[in-house]
C-alpha cells in the first residue's frame, strides 16, 4: 500500500539548491561558510543563471568551494582570485563571474589584487567571508583580527601598537570610484542571514547590469579557531565583530538595480 501525501505537501517550499552539488562540505560544525554557500546558490537559482556563472575559489578554508557549487569553477592562487576572475570575466563578458574569498586571502596577501579589481571597475562580484582569523592554517592573526583577540600568532592578543588595528576592507573599497556596490552583512542570526541574501542578489544584479565592481562582505564565524561553541561564536560576531565592522551599505549604485529585491 502506498501512502499518498496530502496535496499541500507536494508543493515544495524549501529545496536543495540546484546550484549546490551534493558533496558534503569540509567545514567545521558551526561555521557559517555553509550558510554563505547556500545563500549564493539560492540566488543563482533564483536568477536562473547557474549555467552562465563561473566561480573563482581562493585559498584558505574556502579553497574547496569549487566542490560545492554546481557551476564552472576556477581555483586561484592565494589572494589572486580577483586577478584570475578578471581574466575569466574579460574572456566571458556575458557570464557572471564571482570570487569567494576569506579575509586572509582578500585583505592580506590579495590586498593589491582586490583593490585594483575595484579600481578598474572590474565587472565581477566578490563574496568576502570575514571571520577575523586564518582558519585553514589553524587560527593565526589576520588583518581583520580584533584588537586584543588571541590567535595562535598573537597569543597575548592582537596588539595594535605593533600589528595594527583591524582593516576594514569594505570601507576602503567603498572609496574607490570603480566600486559600484559595497555592502557588509552578517550571518549571525536569521534576520541578518535574510539581509545577506538580499545583498548577494543585488551584487549579482549589479554585475548583470554591467555597473562595475561589487562586493558583499559577510561577517562569519570560526568556532574552531576562536575556541567557542557554535552559539557563542554567533554571539561573538554580534557582540564583538559588528561594533568593529558595522553592517550596512557602504556604497550603492546611483540607480537602484532593477529587479533587485528592495
Amino acid at each position: 500500500m502506498t501512502i499518498q501525501a496530502p496535496e499541500p505537501l507536494l508543493t515544495p517550499v524549501y529545496q536543495y539548491p540546484e546550484s549546490l552539488t551534493h558533496v558534503p562540505t569540509h567545514y567545521c560544525p558551526g561555521c557559517t561558510h555553509g550558510i554563505a554557500h547556500r545563500l549564493i546558490a539560492e540566488v543563482i537559482d533564483e536568477m536562473g543563471v547557474r549555467q552562465d556563472t563561473i566561480g573563482v575559489a581562493s585559498v584558505g578554508c574556502s579553497v574547496f568551494s569549487y566542490r560545492y557549487f554546481a557551476t564552472d569553477f576556477a581555483q586561484a592562487a592565494h589572494g589572486r582570485a580577483p586577478a584570475m576572475a578578471t581574466g575569466v570575466k574579460r574572456a566571458n563578458p556575458d557570464k557572471l563571474v564571482f570570487t569567494y574569498q576569506g579575509d586572509g586571502d582578500l585583505a592580506s596577501i590579495g590586498a593589491a589584487e582586490i583593490l585594483h579589481a575595484a579600481v578598474r571597475g572590474e565587472n565581477i562580484t566578490v563574496f568576502f567571508v570575514n571571520n577575523a582569523i586564518y582558519g585553514m592554517t589553524g587560527g593565526q592573526m589576520a588583518p581583520t583580527t580584533l584588537e586584543g583577540q588571541k590567535t595562535t600568532s598573537s597569543p597575548a592578543g592582537r596588539d595594535a601598537a605593533t600589528t595594527g588595528a583591524p582593516l576594514r576592507m569594505s570601507e576602503l573599497l567603498a572609496q574607490v570610484d570603480g566600486a559600484a556596490y559595497v555592502v557588509r552583512r552578517s550571518l549571525h542570526d536569521v534576520v541578518q542571514i535574510r539581509r545577506a541574501k538580499k545583498a548577494i542578489r543585488r551584487a549579482l544584479e549589479v554585475q548583470r547590469q554591467g555597473l562595475g565592481f561589487a562586493m558583499v562582505e559577510l561577517l562569519s564565524s570560526c568556532p574552531t579557531n576562536w575556541g567557542l561553541a557554535p552559539d557563542a561564536a554567533l554571539a561573538f560576531i554580534r557582540d564583538e565583530m559588528v561594533p568593529v565592522f558595522p553592517l550596512g551599505d557602504l556604497k550603492v549604485p546611483d540607480e537602484p538595480a532593477a529587479g533587485a529585491p528592495a
Binding site: R50, Q51, D52, T53, I54, V56, A57, V63, Y66, A70, T71, D72, F73, A74, Q75, A76, A77, R80, A83, M84, A85, T86, G87, V88, K89, R90, A91, N92, K95, A112, E113, L115, H116, V119, R120
Partner: protein, 373 residues
Amino acid sequence: MSVELLKGNVAFAEAAVRAGCEAYFGYPITPQTEALEHMAKRMPELGRVFVQAESEVAAINMVYGAAAAGMRTMTSSSSPGVSLMMEGLSYMAGSEVPAVLVDVMRGGPGLGNIAPAQSDYLQMVKGGGHGDYKMIVLAPATVQEMIDLTLLAFDLADRYRIVSVLLADGSMGQMMEGAELPPMKPLAERPAWALTGARDRDTNLVSSIHLDPEEEETFNLHLQAKYAEIEANEVRFEEHLLDDARVAVVAFGTAARVAKTAIAGLRAEGVAAGLLRPITLWPYPEAALRDLAARVDALLVVEMNAGQMVEDVRRIVEGRVPVRFYGRTGGVMPMPEEIADAIRETASAGAASGAPADTAAGGSDAPAQEVPA
C-alpha cells in the same frame, strides 16, 4: 606579405595578434615595454582584451584566468617581472592551461640594469616556480624568429596545454631588422575543458589542487609523460658549419649570433669551427649535442650569463669531450673577437687532449671563464 623593418618587441606583439591572441595582460618594464604599448593600441582596435595590470603578479593571474576560459592569451615582461610571475606559472602548469610568456631578459640579479642578458635560462628551463613542471622554452636569434617562434609558441601551448616561453634578451627586443609578418589567423574555438559557463554540459573545473598524495602523484606522472612526449617531438635547433668542425660553439639567441660572426672570421683563418644553436632550450637538443660531442675535439659554450646552459651541456656530454665556457654577465655583450679567442683556446685545448677523454672535471675542462674587471 613583404619584409618590413620591425623592432623585436613590436614584432612579437604583432605576431601574437596575428596568431589569434585574444587577451594580453601586462605591466610596463624595460626592455620589453614596446610590446605592451603595441598591444594597448592593437587589441582594443580589434575588439580584443588588453589590461594593464597592477603588477606582474596580477598580470600572470589574469592570464591564468583568460587561459582557464580557453582564450589564446599571453603576457610579456623582463627578468625582475618574470620572477614575480613564478607563482602563477606554477599554478598554470598544475592546471594545464595553455598560454604564452615572453621574457625579454636583462642584466641582474636584483634590479640589475636594462641591458641584454641571458641569465634567466635556469629559471625558465628548470621551471622556476615550485613543483615539478616544465615550460616549452623557445630562443629566438633574429627578429624574424621573434615572429615565427611566437606563432609556434601559441600552437605548442594549445597542443600540449602548457605554457610556452619566448626567451629573448634585451637586444632581441630592442633591435630592428627586416622581417615578415604572417597573415591574420582566424580566432580559435574555445576548447571543451574551458570555463565558459556550464550551458548544456557538465561543469568544468580548472584547478591545480590534488589533496590526496597518491592522486597528486598520478597527476605528476601524467605531466611527466606529457613532457616526455614533448621531448620526443618538439626539439628544434640550428646546425651551422658543423660538417667538418673540430671545435663547436653551443650558444642560443644573441650569443649565438655573435658567435656566428666569430666563426666566420675563424673559418677565413682556416679554423674548423661551427655552431650548434638550440632553438628549443626545453626540450633541449640532447641527441644532436651528444652526436656532435662524438665528432669534435672540444665544445665551447657561450652565454650572456655566468654559466647556466653550460650545466646542461656538461650533463648531456658526460665528459666525452672537453667543454669550456665563455660568458659575459651584467648586461655586457660579448664581442666577436672575445669569442674568437675563446674558440681558439678551446680548439687548441681540444687538440691537445686528443681523442674524447674523461675530462668531466679539471684539466682541459676548466672553464675559460671571463671575469669582467
